[in-house]
Symmetry: C2
Subunit: 213 residues, 2 copies
């Protein structure tokens, strides 16, 4: 399991201080949509230079101009870029082309897809590296996370699975049971009074899960 | 008709020079998704200060966190923000709440909606200011623009209609026949060797349309 730290509603200086503390214990650093709109894609390259051991994900939720938009993120230094699963197939395929050209990765966000498992299978066929079981920010959006994770994980055969949305140490064990490749944690780390402890707690849960025979 | 100039794949300095030339002949200045990711929402306030006679649109295509994301754009100085029509109703409603609180406007982009006219009626009921008939960047995406414009215009009763996607002087007359409130022009102005002339040409077409009895 890779642990992805999402930076969304956090200032640039505070984010930098946080990543300085936890970068040795996370795998992927995500710049969320609001963070990128507030600070520009420049931060992606800045982070790549400052933390060469981290993979960087630019959550730009591509909806149009797949190749062009993905290339913007990859050129800025991102290792992963997100497209929306609700985007047109041509848009997804464009982002995948940009990824293949650069050796980078596309994750398709299943947010608001009518049939997440069915769309995940189509996205896999379109060549995405993985799909993101993302239940969204709005109230009530998270209630079906585990069910969605189960159905999507069962439907795909090759693509990696990422899980995002309101994940905290208390919800991590149930998620780990489905063995996702990437677990995305945001607010429960960035809002914690002890972010280093929160990251360590999630890491320990992942180790325990692995230790189960 | 309001003429909206979209700034997408253009550098910041070049954009500034272009807007200096044409600002007296356009109504809405749009900062497109790639421009904002490349330069941050800071440019919205900068443009509002430099061109107080223009309305500013931030095309951030909100998909999640409607209230929070719309507020980011409105706080930066935007008069209009875009949400995706494919977003969840709760997300749309959140963006509308932010608009009502600030006296600003939400436009819902119909890109990749399965039933544009049906979704436009729902979006109208959710309280958006208008809907955007947007056929997208990918090849082939623009072929149904007029048909989509006709069906959407015929379905809604209150919302404003905006039209975007590959519009040039040669395609403007057919679009104006449907009397949209906003016509969005990007590349055919930004890529023109005579952008002032291109804006004037579209303006003249709009005047002619109005003069038809």
């Amino acid at each position: 399991m890779k642990l992805q730290l999402a930076l969304d509603a956090i200032g640039r200086r505070e984010a930098r201080e946080l990543v300085e503390k936890v970068h040795g214990s996370i795998d992927i650093l995500e710049f969320g949509t609001p963070f990128l709109l507030g600070n520009s894609l420049f931060v992606v390259g800045e982070a790549k230079d400052a933390f060469p051991g981290l993979e960087i994900l630019a959550d730009i939720k591509i909806m149009d101009g797949g190749d062009y938009m993905a290339s913007l993120a990859f050129d800025a230094g991102a290792d992963y870029v997100t497209v929306l699963g609700v985007a047109r197939d041509e848009t997804i395929a464009g982002a995948v082309r940009a990824a293949e050209r650069t050796g980078k990765r596309v994750l398709a966000d299943l947010l608001a897809t009518a049939d997440p498992a069915g769309r995940a299978v189509e996205l896999e066929a379109l060549g995405v590296y993985g799909v993101c079981v993302h239940t969204g920010f709005e109230p009530g959006a998270g209630r079906d996370q585990l069910q969605m994770l189960e159905s999507v994980s069962g439907a795909i055969t090759r693509a990696a699975v990422s899980v995002a949305g309101g994940i905290s140490p208390s919800t991590v064990p149930a998620i780990l049971a489905f063995n996702p490749e990437i677990v995305v944690v945001g607010g429960s780390i960035t809002s914690s009074s002890d972010p280093v402890g929160a990251v360590a707690e999630i890491r320990a849960l992942a180790e325990n899960e692995r230790a189960v025979p």
